[in-house]
């Protein structure tokens, strides 16, 4: 009996001394292998008197089990140690910057255009586009600009050489195209490039507008006010934004108005941006002039409509603080990256 206890003790010591799984396996073979010490003892049981065999067998088996357990335990420990070592050597500096391409971004004008578009498409407006080289009919005549009227001259139009065409001075011609194509009732917005012969801090010869048009039965100035209030409050994310309608003149609307919003920088109390007036001019609008509807073969006894045109760079100026509109078209990457 003592021998077996000693054997276990001895196996324990040898297992603990094993630094590798291979060494540990040698220990296992030594005790439990085919010719191992305990295996030999089991074989030797046959030579014992029959009476003693069961008890001796039990002893040997118990020793065998004990050694198996202690070997397993040590194997487990060795495996844990190996894993820990591997994990330690795998560790990286997680604060290192990531690898790969640096994403680009959209132009601020595109950001604003998409924002305006999203707001109006959520109201069921479809997006229409038109040509940028236009003719006099769509850009002026159909929009009720009389041939010699000063309003026409004030548009600072670019004309093509040797062709009776011009660069559209506003996105309003798309109203005409959309009405002729789809008829009433209609809700469209028309984003796009427009051109006027002008260049300073607040004017570039090319700029962007979004035109909005709603033609339906019984449309009034109150509806125009309703939609524009919603639009501007959502656009600037200010539910207390106030609108002011100032009568104004655009040949293709009657009544016509310019819309001011309460200054978003000072909440209407007066500041440098709003020149102490508390108001900022943002867009022009009105009820579609009946002669425009007639030109587009819309039954004016049944339908009326509203239209507005908003300058995208102006919105970008108010929203993002781009005070010099010319920066939009210098395309300085250090400028553009700020709108990613």
């Amino acid at each position: 009996m003592l021998e077996l206890d000693q054997l276990i003790q001895e196996a324990h010591v040898r297992a603990a001394a094993s630094e590798s799984l291979a060494a540990l396996d040698e220990v296992r073979v030594h005790y439990l292998g085919k010719k191992g010490v305990l295996t030999e003892q089991l074989k030797a049981l046959g030579s014992l008197p029959a009476m003693e065999r069961p008890a001796a067998g039990q002893h040997v088996n118990r020793a065998k089990q004990a050694i198996t357990e202690l070997l397993d335990a040590h194997r487990h420990e060795l495996e844990q140690r190996a894993l820990a070592k591997q994990l330690a050597s795998d560790a990286v500096d997680v604060t290192l910057p990531g690898r790969g391409q640096d994403p680009g971004g959209l132009h601020p004008v595109t950001r604003i255009l998409e924002r305006v578009q999203a707001l109006f498409t959520s109201l069921g407006f479809r997006v229409e586009e038109g040509p940028e080289i236009e003719d006099e009919f769509h850009n002026f005549d159909a929009l009720n600009f009389k041939p010699a009227h000063p309003a026409r001259a004030e548009m600072d139009t670019f004309y093509l050489k040797d062709r009776p065409l011009l660069l559209r001075t506003h996105t309003s011609p798309v109203q005409i195209r959309a009405l002729l194509k789809h008829g009433a009732p209609l809700r469209v917005i028309a984003p796009g490039r427009t051109f006027r012969h002008d260049y300073d801090v607040t004017h570039t010869p090319m700029f962007h507008q979004v035109e909005g048009l709603l033609v339906d039965a019984g449309v009034s100035m109150a509806h125009l006010r309703g939609t524009l209030t919603d639009f501007l409050q959502r656009f600037f994310e200010k539910d207390d934004l106030k609108l002011r309608f100032r009568p104004s003149y655009f040949p293709f609307v009657e009544p016509g108005a310019e819309v001011d919003i309460s200054c978003i920088f000072c909440n209407g109390t007066g500041c440098r941006v709003c020149k102490q007036t508390g108001w900022l001019e943002v867009l022009g609008c009105g009820l579609v002039h009946p002669s425009v509807l007639e030109t587009c073969r819309v039954d004016t006894r049944r339908y009326s409509g509203w239209a507005f045109g908003v300058g995208i760079e102006r919105l970008g100026m108010l929203r993002y603080g781009i005070n010099d509109i010319r920066m939009n078209y210098e395309n300085d990457l250090r400028f553009l990256r700020q709108f990613r």
């Binding site: 290192l96 041939p147 004309y159 509806h223 009544p255």
Partner: protein, 789 residues
Amino acid sequence: MKLSEQWLREFVNPRATAGELAERLTLAGIEISSVTDALPAIDKVVVGEVLKVARHPQAGKLSICDVRISAGKQLQIVCGAPNVRTGMKVAVVLHGGRLPDGTEVHVSQLRGVESQGMLCSARELGIADDHSGLVELPVDSAVGKPLVQVLGGADKVLEVEITPNRGDCLSVLGIARELGTLFDLDLNLPQCAPVKPTIKDTLPVNLAAPEACPVFAGRIIRGLRTDAVTPLWMRERLRRAGLRCVHPVVDVTQYVMLELGQPMHAYDLKQLSGGIVVRMARAGESLQLLDGNTHTLEPDMLVIADSKRPLGVGGIMGGTASSVQVDTRDIYLEAAFFPPQTISSRERKLGVQTDAAYRFARGVDPTGQTRALERATRLLLDFANGEPGPVNRVAGRKNAAAKLVLRQLKLRQLLGIRVPEREVGRILSRLGFRTRKRAHTWEVRAPSYRFDIEREEDLVEEVGRVFGYDRIPAIAYPSTQRMLPLPEQQLPLARLRDILTGRGYQEVITYSFVDGPLQQRLTGGPGIALANPITTDMTEMRCSLWPGLIQTLRYNLNRQQKRMRIFECGMSFIPQHDEITQENILSGLITGSQYPAQWGLPQRVADLADLRGDVEALLVASGAAERLEASAAPHPALHPGQSAKLYLNGVDLGWMGALHPILLREMTLDQPVLLFELRLEPLLHGRLPKLAPISPFPSLSRDLAVVVDERVPAATILGLVREAVAPQPIEVYIFDIYHGPGIDSGRKSVALSLILQDSSRTLTDEAADATVKHVVRQLQDKLGATIRD
């Protein structure tokens, strides 16, 4: 237009500050863009009378003046002005006073003589440009009176921005009418009663072009004093309106124009021969106008002529030869009406801009000529004497104002509010409309001075703007709109933008007009030229986005941005005979290293395959990447060995390539630049995905390297492999291209990886090997390929 508040208040005087008037006008559509002080700060400046002038003993140019500044008080003032003389009324700055430029005046010693104040020129006082001598105040100015009062008292100047439809508001009268309507007040009109003629002289007027000049009125005034000076109050008002004083007669016509809105012209009577003929110009006629230039007249221009020659261009500008001079005693005063339609184009042709033409182009009251003549005559006679002749007014047919009907229902429908009927009537009649109330409607006739009232909607605006747009509520239009169609096979442009930005591209927006020579260099042909480009380097409409991208590249390279990935989407304009194709295109440019500098990734300059990867990524969105074909083709902008025309499903898609080295050199660019340009329309054709069965059987992969002639395109090899295996599906990709030891020069080794799979059974190694063998045979037969082990 600038106007004095004081002048306005002579016509109508609401109980409101200048700021409040401005606000009300602005909210009624007459925008007041600024309200400023009419006079500079001139404190402690009074009227003085020069009693005595003596020469300064030490300085020949200086005088020592005794100046009386009140009943019992006089000052000794040293003065250098040449025009100082005894009895003159002058502006005296007292001790402690301050000039508008900030100069403080104190008692001081000037070359040993005490000076107790300062005598001023008009410029020193900030009221005119004249600095030739002391400002001479009217002889009847009361000594000691503050100068501000002599000048008409404190006043504000309103800057008015009039929209082009409201010519009727280009005068004190017009603005006063608006204020009278807004504040419900009657107007006090200036004295315009007929001036009794004292002589019988008239000029015959022949209205030979009544369409272009339906009304012409004139009168002779003889015997004007040549030493008459425009009264100070009138000069001040003109100054406050931003006009310069020129000549007493001209000043009066300008004054009347500002006041009543009727432009006038004065002729030197002795320069006229025979009568007045209002006619179209004759071919070849020319005339020196008051701008000093001799203009060739065209037959569509209206002239005011005498029996011999044209005198001026009607409604636009008078001629030099017949204009009033300093010694003019007898004049002919003209007030006419020229209809708006033709004025602006003639003004443009002549290249002149005048206040008269500005007003005629926007509409002048066709009934106001006689009134203006009478007003001007009275003003002129008041200070320059003269003997007026009778007014001779000649007029063509008069158009009666059309009758319009305003329905209460329409008013309510368009404004979205109910305006009380009494209010509607009041607004319209205050504005000068003649109205007659019927049941639920008004019959309305517009006044002669309104050129913008043609239909019912115009009346709605009139009522609405005066009643106040701010009283209109905000109401959402009730929607009966159905959901919009959403075609899934039409890709939104935003998707393509997102793909590019995700791959490191920054969107740019460049001008649609570009430098003509640069564009021609890049595209090989002229684009569409502008008739009036804004600068000499924006002369043509772009037919490619590359000129804009390259300009952007140069701009940023000059700012130390060496690595760039940019794209733009926009319209191109391609001339095709008489037509212009306007098509949206999507273009990109990359230069510098493929990846930003970073750890653990060696720097590598972006090449054409990088660019092509981006193009293919765009096509993945439409499910067409594998149908992209690139074939080597020459392009004027591109390196001949790195230039490809792109096709999608056999249809033109665009180009990609490296910018030609010669262009790089010309533009002093020292790094390769890669470009693509794609038609947008095919890119936006998406597809509706349809699930294909996924084979449950394992795939096998085989690699092989074939050596082929250098010039064999990769696309040919890949195409042959797919063809050889068809109809079995196969994935094949190139994992290496090798030149160098072991490969003959002029040939290249292309390493391919094939992934084979069968959809109906597990592919055996034998079957896979057989397939590869077949592929190899095809490559050998068709391309002369050898296998590299």
